[in-house]
């Protein structure tokens, strides 16, 4: 065995034995450093004859390449082992809990109002608003409810204290927005007016504050048939059911003539009423053709303009759609209830995705 072969075998063994990067570096320096054994062999090439160089050169260079490769390989191995060891030492118990940002919620009343706005926008209705502290004229007189009218006894009105001329009330319905809209803009009119309304009534099914949405269409040639279609179309879109059936019943509201109470058909499913079909009927809303005197009170000619109006409880729509069976918790702000019945911020009602969430 030649010296070179011996050196080759020794250096390979040293490389393999180096179990740290430092030891490996020492092997490298010992072989390939300025004073290294291979460096020394390389230096001998300069003093050789061309013939010697011809035979020894490749051997010495072969030795250098073999050892360089061995050290590089060994280094990679050791680095990999070190990384593996470090990573192994960094192991975490990922079953530990993390804090998620608390998910917030949108109240069902707001969600339903957004749904209504979305559906009615497609039918060409804008959203109108009006004050909740309303004067007696807008809330009653302009709606054909004179102060002696028995209809005033139908609604338990909250009055505001103090001397006000005209007297001020908390609006008992969203109908005064009809008046404000007709006074503010020229027909044709298509609006809905959702908002808070107030009646002095508090029991299992009534709260002193609740939400209504008013609908108003004033145009030429509008009939009760348009009212029926609008309500059917709206309810089918709102409940996302094609089998919603309506039943109109004659009724009385001072501000409409003819007036109709609208019932919606339901089907019993697992002991619950589900809207759709006509196994039974439940009262849903009041409506009618706007009374000529109301149109007149707004400065319009009832021979030229006519239309329909309806009013429906927003809370009730929410209950029917989302299955709450008690109105009172709507206004109790119990976080558990809000989280149970509330909606995600991202549940934005759209027509393409369906308005329901």
């Amino acid at each position: 065995m030649t010296d070179i072969e011996t050196l080759h075998d020794r250096l390979l063994a040293d490389t393999a034995d180096a179990d740290t990067l430092d030891k490996l570096e020492a092997v490298r320096v010992g072989a390939l450093g300025k004073q290294g054994s291979i460096t020394a062999l390389l230096k001998t090439l300069g003093g050789m004859t061309p013939e010697q160089r011809q035979s020894e050169g490749p051997r010495i260079h072969g030795l250098r390449e073999a050892i360089t490769a061995a050290i590089t390989g060994r280094k990679a191995r050791l680095e990999q082992d070190a990384l593996d060891a470090r990573l192994a030492s960094e192991k975490l118990d990922l079953t530990l809990p993390v804090d998620l940002p608390a998910p917030g919620t949108v109240h069902p009343v707001s969600q339903v109002m957004d749904e209504l706005a979305e559906i009615f926008a497609d039918l060409g209705f804008a959203v109108a608003t009006g004050p909740e502290i309303e004067d007696d004229w807008h809330n009653f007189s302009a709606l054909n409810i004179p102060d002696t009218h028995p209809a005033r006894a139908m609604q338990d009105t909250f009055y505001l204290a103090g001397e006000h001329e005209p007297p001020m009330v908390l609006r008992t319905h969203t109908s005064p927005v009809q008046i404000r809209t007709m006074l503010a803009q020229k027909p044709p009119i298509r609006v809905i007016a959702p908002g808070r309304v107030y009646r002095s009534d508090w029991d299992a099914t009534h709260t002193p504050m609740f939400h209504q949405v008013e609908g108003l269409v004033i145009d030429k040639g509008i009939t009760l048939g348009h009212l029926k279609w609008t309500l059917e179309t709206f309810l089918r879109a709102f409940f996302e059911r094609d089998d919603i059936v309506l039943r109109l019943r004659p009724s009385y509201f001072p501000f409409t003539e003819p007036s109709a109470e609208v019932d919606v058909g339901y089907t019993m499913r697992n002991g619950r009423r589900v809207l759709g079909g006509s196994e039974g009927w439940m009262e849903l809303l009041g409506s009618g053709m706007v009374h000529p005197r109301v149109i007149e009170a707004c400065g319009l000619d009832p021979n030229e303009w006519q239309g329909f109006a309806f009013g429906v409880g927003v809370d009730r729509l929410a209950m029917l759609k989302y299955g709450m069976d008690d109105l009172r918790p709507f206004f109790e702000s119990d976080v558990r209830w809000l989280k149970h019945y509330g909606f995600s911020a991202l549940d934005v009602p759209t027509l393409s995705g369906g308005v329901g969430a």
């Binding site: 530990l96 940002p101 608390a102 998910p103 917030g104 919620t105 949108v106 109240h107 009343v109 707001s110 706005a117 926008a121 039918l123 060409g124 209705f125 804008a126 959203v127 909740e132 502290i133 002696t148 009218h149 028995p150 209809a151 006894a153 909250f158 009055y159 505001l160 204290a161 103090g162 001020m168 908390l170 808070r196 002095s200 002193p208 504050m209 509008i222 009939t223 009760l224 048939g225 348009h226 009212l227 029926k228 279609w229 039943r247 109109l248 019943r249 004659p250 009724s251 003539e257 003819p258 009374h291 000529p292 702000s333 976080v335 809000l338 509330g342 909606f343 995600s344 911020a345 991202l346």
Partner: protein, 809 residues
């Protein structure tokens, strides 16, 4: 309005079933609230005779009866003191359900003696309150017959809700007329017996022709005021009217039967004639309900020479009411003005069956017939002799004629009904059309002569009908409003246009932004208690007739409602975190202002394996919510100033609700307050029964400047070509210097080059305050030279020095 099926059939000739009648009532607008069949639940009870009654061997208060209910004697143990041999009563055999006691009878041993059923009291059968003994039936009651058959209890009671416009349906006959028009049968003719008077009519007059335009009176002398006949008592009882005496029952019966209220006076208790006049202020009357009413000017009363005997059209007086000893009576049949009745009733807070009818309006053409009919009933039941009728004043009888074009049914109601059919409907409801004044008078030939538009005369009992739209309603409700076909609203071509206003879009956006930030949306009452409002500066609007003291003042802020809600939640879930928000109105003296309120209470974060203890909310959490939401609202959040909450900012908020050192307002310029935020004052928390710390925010949505719309295209994207340069400065500053003032001064030192300045470190020690600021400089065309940077740096230090800040060595 309640009536029984047999009562209805007094006026309606019909073969329709109960179900058909109920359906038809609802279809024509007389909503059926309920149908009760009191006999149905008593079908198992029979008329029985007590054959023998022996003392119970083991109990003094019990008897052992032998009872025959048609199937021979059975043994029954009975505790009723009135049980005796020979009497007739009501027997329930084993298996019968006793509704008043909620038990099903079975054979049982009572104190060792077998009992095979029960003799029942009124209360046990839910026929009345009587429970002193068992029911005693007349001696001629047929033993073995079904008790409900015998007692006439198999007459279903129908309860309809009569809308305030339908005066005519406050009487059974009016309801029958509607049903006849709806095709359920024929309205039977109504014949009034006019009995000629034998004496001069009583002295009655009206001095108040506005309140009481007509006052008719008729006297009957020599009456016996006993019980009214069984058929009348039974009907009144069935609908929940307590029979009182024959005279009172007659007036109640006529009122319910024909919608015609009457009043009967005991003439022995009157001094002189009766006059309808206006009450004198302060005059008092004890009404039939036993209460004393103090009358006001403008109320119409019926009085004699001495005192008031009747609150006209609402309730009679106790003093002159009839009693069992009454022999001579005066029957009043008057027309009271509906508006007067409504006002008087509202002022007195007094309602009655009479008021309900006069307020809707009674038929002004039915005074003579109504009085004659009542007098005939009195004579028939109580005997006596009638006087002539005295008629004072005149009821308003001007006929009302509406010009009606039958095409309106189509153009308003959306339902095509042939003109002849419309004419027949109107006639059947009592309308007249030109020369045709009755359904039976209709012929095609005569109909052809009616001019167009039709002159339609409104019946005297339909005060509510006063325009063509009303006639459309009459036609459609009888023809069937449910037949109106759906007609699509015209849809403008193309995709629907956006309709939301900027205010609506702002509210929608903020609602979802707040929910996305982990806040739960609440909807709280618009009204709060006086004390809760006072904690926030008091409310401008107070409810005159609140439902309770807790719901009395219109909220001046959204925080009271949210704080109450937070308090309830923390009681419910101690140790939890409550993050509530609400979007709604504050009710200020000048306007209702759209507002967003936030309350952060309880734990901000729970105790946690990573961070240790639970943390509470602080004022900076509130500031973060305020700025985040304002940013979503499009407010220029970089330009806002933090200033203290003033004691009274524009609009009337009180700063006193907030922690004086840990609250602020965010303003655009010195005056425009966009939001208030911070910690609440401990005394505010106390007012809501809360323990702190609690953070809150209020955003004043109407103060936020509207976003400018410049189309959809964004400005061109032009990132700077060169890298920005960061330089840190640490200043020693006076303790009271606000960080924001220092940052503004630094930014202002070189507006061309400084793009941002941000506090990144702060510490206070030994009365010294150190603020470290990172300043970012953005080179334009050329990189900064060392000289450029030194110049900027010098300007920054100089600007800070003006505020008393010096570079920390």
């Amino acid at each position: 309005m309640k009536f029984t099926l047999s009562w209805l059939k007094e006026h309606l000739e019909t073969s329709a079933s109960l179900d058909e009648i109920v359906d038809a009532l609802t279809r024509v607008g007389l909503e059926v609230e309920g149908v009760a069949d009191p006999g149905a639940k008593l079908g198992a009870f029979r008329v029985a005779r007590v054959l023998t009654a022996e003392r119970h061997p083991q109990a003094d208060k019990l008897q052992v009866l032998s009872v025959d209910a048609g199937d021979g004697p059975v043994q029954v143990v009975c505790g009723a003191p009135n049980a005796r041999a020979g009497m007739l009563g009501v027997f329930g055999a084993p298996g019968a359900y006793v509704p008043g006691s909620d038990i099903t009878l079975k054979i049982a041993a009572i104190r060792g003696v077998e009992s095979n059923g029960m003799m029942c009291s009124e209360r046990e059968l839910e026929l009345g309150e009587g429970h002193d003994g068992i029911i005693e039936l007349p001696a001629d009651a047929p033993v073995g017959t079904s008790f409900p058959d015998y007692a006439g209890l198999n007459d279903p009671v129908i309860d309809v809700s009569v809308t305030p416009n339908r005066q005519d349906c406050m009487g059974v006959r009016g309801i029958a007329r509607d049903l006849a028009a709806a095709g359920l049968g024929a309205l039977k003719p109504f014949h009034v017996k006019h009995i000629p008077g034998e004496d001069v009519g009583p002295e009655v007059r009206t001095d108040d022709p506005e309140g009481c335009p007509a006052f008719y009176g008729q006297a009957v002398s020599g009456v016996r005021n006993g019980d009214s006949p069984d058929w009348m008592r039974r009907r009144l009882l069935a609908i929940g009217q307590k029979p009182i005496s024959a005279l009172v029952d007659v007036t109640n019966y006529v009122m319910i039967d024909l919608g015609r209220p009457l009043h009967v006076y005991d003439r022995a208790k009157l001094q002189g004639g009766l006059v309808a006049r206006k009450a004198r202020a302060g005059e008092q009357v004890v009404a039939l309900n036993g209460k004393t009413y103090t009358l006001g000017e403008g109320m119409t009363v019926i009085a004699d020479e001495a005192e008031v005997h009747d609150i006209g059209g609402i309730m009679g007086g106790e003093h002159s009411g009839v009693s069992s000893g009454t022999t001579d009576v005066l029957i009043e049949c008057a027309y009271f003005d509906p508006d007067h009745i409504a006002r008087t009733g509202q002022k007195l807070g007094l309602t009655s069956d009479a008021r309900q009818r006069f307020e809707r309006g009674v038929d002004p053409a039915f005074l003579d017939d109504g009085l004659a009919h009542a007098t005939a009933l009195v004579l028939e039941i109580c005997g006596g002799t009638a006087s002539e009728v005295t008629r004072a004043g005149e009821p308003p009888l001007e006929p009302r004629v509406i010009r009606y074009d039958p095409r309106l049914c189509d153009s308003l109601g959306g339902l095509h009904v042939p003109p002849e059919r419309q004419a027949r409907i109107l006639l059947s409801l009592g309308f007249k059309m030109g020369a045709i004044d009755h359904t039976d008078a209709y012929s095609d030939a005569l109909f052809a002569t009616v001019e167009s538009p039709w002159p339609v005369t409104v019946p005297t009992w339909r005060r509510d009908v006063d325009g063509p739209a009303d006639l459309v309603e009459e036609v459609i409700r009888i023809e069937g409003i449910d037949k109106v076909p759906s007609t699509a609203l015209p849809h403008p071509p193309g995709v629907a246009k956006p309709t939301a206003t900027p205010e609506q879009k702002l509210e929608r956006r903020l609602r979802r932004a707040a929910a996305a930030r982990g806040l739960d949306e609440a909807v709280t009452w618009s009204f709060v208690s006086g004390a809760e409002a006072a904690a926030f500066g008091g409310g401008a609007w107070r409810i005159a007739n609140p439902i309770s003291e807790e719901l009395k003042v219109m909220r001046p802020s959204l925080l009271p409602g949210l704080l109450s809600a937070a308090a309830r939640n923390l009681r419910q879930l101690p140790g939890g975190g409550v993050r509530l928000f609400e979007i709604g109105r504050r009710y200020l003296a000048d306007a209702e202002r759209s507002t967003l309120g936030v309350v952060l209470a309880g734990d901000r974060s729970q105790r946690n394996w990573r961070t240790g203890k639970a943390t509470a909310y602080d004022a900076f959490d509130a500031k973060a919510e305020a700025l985040a939401l304002l940013a979503q609202a499009g407010a220029p959040v970089d330009n806002l100033q933090v200033l203290p909450v003033p004691s009274t900012v524009e609009g009337g908020e009180a700063g006193d609700a907030w922690h004086p050192g840990q609250s602020g307002t965010l303003r655009l310029g010195p005056k425009t307050v966009l939001a208030a935020f911070g910690m609440l004052h401990p005394k505010t928390l106390k007012a809501f029964d809360l323990t702190g710390p609690i953070a809150a925010v209020e955003l004043y949505l109407d103060a936020i400047p509207a976003k400018r719309t410049q189309g959809f295209a964004r400005p061109a994207y032009a990132p700077p070509a060169l890298q920005p340069v960061r330089r840190d400065f640490a200043f020693l500053v006076p303790a009271e210097l606000a960080a924001d003032a220092l940052v503004r001064a630094i930014k202002g030192a070189d507006k061309a080059n400084i793009v941002s300045a941000r506090v990144f470190d702060l510490f206070e020690k030994d009365g010294e305050k150190s603020v470290a600021v990172e300043v970012v400089l953005q080179p334009g065309e050329k990189s900064f030279t060392d000289a450029d940077l030194k110049a900027v740096s010098d300007r920054v230090v100089a600007a800070a020095a003006k505020l008393g800040a010096s570079l920390r060595g």
